[in-house]
Point group: D2
Chain length 270, copies 4
C-alpha cells in the first residue's frame, strides 16, 4: 500500500493520465468560490463587491481530470474588472490554461446603487442580487441575472374588500440574454422591473414618502401574473434584449406560501 | 510513520486517553443530525415529522474525546416519542452512555396542524417551525421554540395615507420556558401568538375569507413593537410560562430590509 | 377611490376577467408550500415526511389570473399518497380544477432509510434529500431527484503524498428520467450512487467500522470527474433510465471552495 | 373608516404617541440591512465589502414605536469607516437620533486577505466570514465574530487504520471580547485559529503544496475536542482577549452529520 519515495519525483500528474471510460464531461471546475470583484457600472464607474463564482471547462473523454488550481489562478488575475466585455477574455484565458474547448463562468453578487425617496428625496444605498452566466469557445453565450424586490398589492383583495388590500414584498428574478451588439446595464434592467410593481422599494422613506408609496401601491394593484406580463411587455419593446425568463414570487402576507408565475420567451421565435 | 499491524489489535480507544491540557469542554457531540421523529401532540395524538438534532454532553478535562457514535445510538432508540416528558429520559440515557454530568438536546422540526378558513371553513394543513431545547443532569432546563408567521399592517401607513396601508408577512419567534408542573402544548403557544397579529395566516382562503382577513388586518394595525408587547401581555397572563424571549421580524413590503423588535423577560423577576 | 358596498355582492372574480395584453404565461401557481406527505416506498410500505411543493398550471392569454386557493385544495386531497403512479392523478386534478392545459408539480423531501454499519451491523436512519418533478397534460414528464452524500478521497493527493490523502464529504445530485414502463425506486438510485464513492456514509460507525471505511476510501480514490463517470456508467447500464443529469460537488477539505463536475445525457441520443 | 384629508395635515407621528401597555422593549430597529461597507484593516489599509446589519435601540415603555428610517440614515452617514474605534460613534449617533438609552449594532461581512500556498507561494484571496457585535450607552460592549474553515484529520481513524485517515473541512467560529485598551485585528484572530487545525485551507494549491498539506494534516490529527482546546489555549495566552466562545463543527467525511464542540470562557473568572 505504501508507495516508494523514488516513484514520486517529480510529482506525478494524475489528472493528465489517460481515462478509458470513454465519457467526456460537460463541465468540470470549481464552485462556491467567494472572491472580491470590481464591477464596471454605467457612466464609467467601478464598484467593489463580493462575487460567488462557478468556473468550469469541458473535459475530453481521454483525460482523467482537470487542474482545479488553475481556475483560481485565472480568477485572481481577472477579478479586478468584471463586465460584459471582459468576461469573454476570462473565458478565453480559462480555455488556454485548461486546454479546453468550452469554458463557463457564473457569478452572483450584490449590486448597490443610491436611491432617493420619492417625495423627500432622502437617499440611501439599495442592494440588488445580480449575476452573469457566460460561456465561451465552442458555445458562446452571455446572460444577465437580476432579482428586484417590489411591493405587490393584490387586485382581488382590493376589489372585494370594503377597505384595505393585502400587499407584500415580491421578488422578480429575470435572466436576460442581450443582443451581441448592445450594452445592457444592470441599472436599465432594474429600472424596467421596478416600473412594473405596485410600487418600488426604498432604503429610506420618511412619512410623506410612506404616504406616497402606500397610495401608489393601492392605485396600482398587481397579481404575480400582472407582474410577469408587464415585465414581458417592457422586455419585448427593448431592442437590446434577445430572449428572457421572468419569475415572480410574492411572499403573500395572508399565506405562509408564495404566489408564483414564470414566463420564458425567445423573441426571435415571435 | 507507518504503524505496525500488531499495535492495532484490539483497536485502541483514543478518545478515552488522558488529556493534559486541563480544559473541560462545555458541550461535545453531534449536530445537524436529520432524523425521523414522532411528536406527541395535544389530545393524545402523535404526528410524524423530520427533526434536525443537536445532541451534546459535557467533557471532563481528563478525557481526550467523547464517543460520537453513541449519540446516534441513543437517538435511534428514542426518536419514536418526543415530548416534554420523554426528552428528560433521552437526556438521562445520553449521560449514562457517555458517562457525563450534563447532557443537552436541541431539535427543530415542522409542526403541522389543520386550519380552517375564517368564513368558508375550508381546511388545509399549516406548518409551523418549532423546537425544543433541553438540558439534563447538573443543569436541568426545558424550553419551547415556536415561530409563527402573521400578517402585520402598519399603523403609521394607515394613519397617514388617504387609502390603503402597507402590510406584510411577519415572523414571531418565541423561546418559552414553561413551569415544571404544567404541560404547555405547541398548539397553545401558536394560538396565543396568532391572536396578536393584524390577522393570522391560512393555508386556504376563498374570496369571502380573503375579504374577511383583508378587512381584519386593516382594522388591527400592528407595528413590530405592538406585536412584541401583545405577545408579552399574553405570556405574562399565562401561569404555565416562567420566562420568555420574543422576536418579531416584519418582511416590510416597502423596504428590502426587515423591521425588528426583541424582548426578553423572566417573570420571577417582575 | 372607495367602492360602494352594493358593487361587491356577490364578490367579483377579478382573476377571470379578460386580459388584453395577449401574453400567455407558462406557469402560474404556488411555491414554497410546506405540507405533510406520505411517500410510497419499495416493498409496499409508506413513509411520512415533509414536502416542499411547487404547483403550477399554464395560464391562457385571455385570463387575468389563476385561482391560487385551488392548488392548496387539490394538494390537501392528495398528500396522502405520493408516488410515480399517483402524481399524474394530482396533475390531472389540477388541470380540471384550474381549467388548464398543462400542470406541473415539484416536490422536495427527506427520504429516510435504515442503514447498517459495514462491520458491526449497527443500524441507524439515514436521510437523503429527494424530489419529483412532473408535468401532465399537453406536456407529460416525470423526473426523480436524488442527492446522496459520499466520501471522496483525492487520487492526486494519495499519489503524491508519502502518507495520507485528503478526503471530504461530497454530494452527488442526480435528476433521472425513468422509462414510462418501469418503476424506478429512490432506493435503487441511491444504491447505484453510493457504490460509486470512495466510500458510502453511515449514521452509526463503531471503531471497527471506522477502520473499514477509512481503508475502503483510501483504496478507492475518486475525483469529482471519476464520480460523475462512474455514476454515468451505472445509469447507462440500467434500462429503467432514459436520460439523466449528474452533478458532483466535493466540499474539499483543503480549500474553502468546492470541486465540481456536471454531466447531462439523453440515452436515446447515444 | 375613511379618514378626512384635513385630519392628516401635517402627518401624524403615530410612533411618538403614548403607549399604555407599560412594557419597555429591549431592542427595536432594522434587520437584514444589506449595505456596502469599508472596513479598516491592519497596516492602515481599507477594504470594501458587503455588510449585513442589524441596528437597534431600546424603546421606553411610554412610546408606541421607534422611527425606523433614522437607522438607515445613520448607517448611510457612517458605512465608510467601520472599525473598533468608529462603531462606538455610530452607536452614539443612533442614541441621539432615536432618543434612546442604549443602542446595538451587529454586522456580518466577508473579510478577504491574500494567502500564499505553503510551498510554491502561489497567491490568491481567501474569504472569512466575520462580524462585530457592539452595544453603547447604558450597556457598553464590543465583540468580534470570526469563522475560519480548517482541515481536521481524525486521530481515531488514523490510529486504528492501517493506512489513510478520514479528514474533512471543519469550521471554527469564535466570538471574542477584546480588552478595552487593545486593538485586536481580525487578521490576528484568524492566524491563531488557523494554527490549531490539522492544516489550514488555501485558495490555490499546486501539487507540491497539496503534498505538503496532505502530510501536514496526517501529522497533526485533531478531534473537534482538540480544536476547541487548542484555540482556548491560544486565547488564554493572549492578553488582548477578555472572554470568548469557541464552536467547532466538522463536516465529517464519513457521516452526513457534523461533529461539534463548544466552549465558553470568561478569563476574569479563571
Amino acid at each position: 500500500m505504501i508507495k516508494s519515495e523514488t516513484a514520486k519525483t517529480p510529482l506525478v500528474d494524475i489528472q493528465s493520465s489517460e481515462d478509458k471510460r470513454n465519457i467526456p464531461i460537460d463541465r468540470v471546475g470549481v464552485r462556491q468560490v467567494k472572491y472580491p470583484m470590481h464591477l464596471r457600472i454605467k457612466d464609467n464607474g467601478m464598484m467593489q463587491t463580493v462575487g460567488l463564482f462557478t468556473l468550469t471547462v469541458d473535459l475530453p473523454k481521454h483525460f482523467k481530470g482537470t487542474h482545479m488550481s488553475r481556475f483560481l489562478e485565472v480568477l485572481g488575475e481577472h477579478n479586478h474588472d468584471m463586465t460584459a466585455e471582459t468576461i469573454p477574455l476570462i473565458l478565453q484565458r480559462l480555455r488556454e490554461r485548461l486546454d479546453a474547448e468550452t469554458s463557463h463562468l457564473e457569478v452572483k453578487f450584490t449590486y448597490f446603487r443610491e436611491k432617493a425617496a420619492p417625495v423627500t428625496g432622502k437617499k440611501g444605498m439599495m442592494g440588488y442580487e445580480c449575476g452573469f452566466v457566460a460561456s465561451g469557445g465552442a458555445t458562446t453565450d452571455f446572460e444577465i441575472l437580476v432579482t428586484v424586490p417590489v411591493t405587490t398589492l393584490c387586485p382581488c383583495s382590493k376589489e372585494i374588500s370594503d377597505y384595505g388590500a393585502h400587499n407584500q414584498r415580491g421578488y422578480v428574478s429575470v435572466r436576460v440574454r442581450p443582443t451581441p451588439d448592445n450594452v445592457l446595464w444592470l441599472e436599465c434592467v432594474i429600472d424596467m422591473i421596478e416600473a412594473c410593481g405596485s410600487a418600488p422599494l426604498y432604503p429610506v422613506l420618511k412619512r410623506p414618502d410612506e404616504k406616497f408609496v402606500t397610495e401608489q401601491a393601492y392605485n396600482n394593484p398587481r397579481f404575480v401574473e400582472d407582474m410577469v406580463r408587464e415585465v414581458a411587455l417592457a422586455f419585448d419593446k427593448d431592442d437590446r434584449i434577445l430572449s428572457y425568463e421572468i419569475e415572480v414570487e410574492n411572499h403573500e402576507s395572508i399565506h405562509d406560501h408564495n404566489a408564483y408565475a414564470y414566463l420564458k420567451r425567445d423573441k426571435s421565435n415571435l
